[in-house]
Symmetry: C3
Subunit: 109 residues, 3 copies
């Protein structure tokens, strides 16, 4: 038995929880802020048998990897619309920091 | 030394914290949602010496076990009161998911 | 690799996070209440290599140790101002409860 603690971005956490749930992983969401990732992150606790750890990690990687995303920058306030053509820029989003912790014993009451 | 992580329903968490406190267990409450249990759960962190783990588990089981509870269903909106007699129904409440994690070292500053 | 779980007072948590960040420790903050310390505490998760655990603990001790602080008591409502001279009193603030937990494996995606 292992306890997987995954710190992910808020924007990825629902998709990740759904994807884990489809494979019958149970998750508990802890509200967290700052640090490992930029502001607005969530820590998921996932309890699973040793033999399923790799599958859980694969699901986390598939749903939360750091990646680039095109965003349209906000036009500068009061800028001259004729001379300013906003171009989408790449920003890095996502990312996951994952700790796999041993579990001595596990109970459900 | 062990760290016990117990995910319990919100409605059971105060009673559990009190019961643990009466036996001198110190708890820290983490706000959590979803997953292991239905919505509205709480994760308690309980640090304790190895020899007290069984007592802590017993207190968790006594205060949080899954159980049936009679609830009066809400009358349907706009229903015909004469033809509808609400009966109390059984719902399952409570339940605890508990991980006992080894602790390498413990400090109080 | 270790996961350090430090329960500290809210008032110390920003200073601690800054001090840890200056030494390149990454932290995630969990909102927590009650128990190990008086109301209003925060749990920090700090992942670090084994060889840096002592440095992290030293930073926690330096920034969160229990200590006395002089506070001016509030004058009693409706008290006779002439007969009541408030004196600063000592209260205990701070304190940290720290668990160092082994980590089987660690990933960043
Ligand atoms: Ni599968
Ligand atoms: Ni006892
Ligand atoms: Ni240093």
């Amino acid at each position: 038995m292992k306890l997987i603690l995954a710190v992910v971005q808020d924007k990825d956490s629902n998709r990740l929880t759904d994807a884990l749930g489809e494979e019958n992983f149970k998750t508990t969401k802890l509200s967290t802020t700052g640090g490992f990732l930029k502001e607005g992150n969530t820590t998921l606790m996932i309890g699973c048998e040793d033999k399923y750890v790799d599958e859980a990690l694969e699901i986390i990687r598939d749903n939360c990897s750091q990646r680039e995303q095109m965003v349209a920058p906000i036009s500068p306030m009061g800028g001259n619309a004729d001379s300013y053509i906003p171009r989408p820029i790449n920003v890095e989003v996502g990312g996951a920091t994952v700790f796999v912790v041993p579990v001595d014993s596990f109970f459900q009451f």
